[in-house]
Subunit: 109 residues, 4 copies
Amino acid sequence: MTSEKYSTCIDACNACADACDHCSVACLGEPGVANLGRCIRLDMDCAALCRLAAGFMSRDSEHASSICRACAELCDACAQECEKHDHDHCRQCAQACRDCAAACRDMAA
Amino acid sequence: MTSEKYSTCIDACNACADACDHCSVACLGEPGVANLGRCIRLDMDCAALCRLAAGFMSRDSEHASSICRACAELCDACAQECEKHDHDHCRQCAQACRDCAAACRDMAA
Amino acid sequence: MTSEKYSTCIDACNACADACDHCSVACLGEPGVANLGRCIRLDMDCAALCRLAAGFMSRDSEHASSICRACAELCDACAQECEKHDHDHCRQCAQACRDCAAACRDMAA
Amino acid sequence: MTSEKYSTCIDACNACADACDHCSVACLGEPGVANLGRCIRLDMDCAALCRLAAGFMSRDSEHASSICRACAELCDACAQECEKHDHDHCRQCAQACRDCAAACRDMAA
């Protein structure tokens, strides 16, 4: 499979998308949701871009590296925001974002 | 994590999306691509719907079951088409589609 | 263009996706966001499914009708929830959802 | 609507996504499909990224400009490839890509 060279990064992107999607709706159920608006918005963006990146890599796209660079930046931003909040889902999401950012940077290098 | 109940099905959907995306571009590189049009088209549809379904489950959506039912049907159709072709990527994609269809049916039940 | 037969429905799906995406983040900025959780969640689901449906129709997919039927149901659910809220973005989103549901039903018929 | 400032670019992205999705399957039906592999692959990438960009703008994302810059580059690549081919769907797709690239650059500026 030509997508083997990407498999670590694809897995990280899928895991990050799932963690972000989960975090977004978990935030919506928190009593302090009024302070979680930016977290939810970055979760939505990050989930969407991670799923896109996984697709680009699975298709061995000539634009996979450039998408992964954009993905790494968004993952960093989302991790930074999630790290401000104490909820388990935010901490798990932050970790998934950090892992994904690292994998995307490795891939794009 | 509320998404734990979905984790088998989410993993199957992510794996199927990646296999379909990979199969679509591998088909485009085959000498017999002229006979692979329907395979490529179903790959494109199936990859997109599997990624959507993973997102719905990760968000614990009230519409996750209904999307998974639609996903199972499309996975079956894609598997059936892929099974007509002898390429490794088609066989691997067919298997991923069969696994995903089963996981989606379990989830929706 | 083979996608001409779908053009009304594609336009309705794109307009609905944009309205849902807009409504989701506008809700996040409302003082009463704590009561808008279900609205935001349905917005996220509906935006994603409408964009998927537009893609299926643009590709003249053999599964376009079945996706449009699922899309009509989700649009109805999202409209019903949005109609409970007085915000302009909710009202505009509800209307876009009603229009999209009707277009999807026409298309699938 | 906060998304009004983006409306020209959102419309261009939606139109480009639809044109790329349509071009990809129309290429699959051409007798010369063996020479259209890169066109189809870029169509798939460009359709996906344009739909993502429309979502980012509809959500007034803080990352909308950076996504639109990436989208403009991919639209240019897709247009350049489509312009090599004489089919109506390729010409229409190339034009939609050029329009979208321009709108994305205006938006990101």
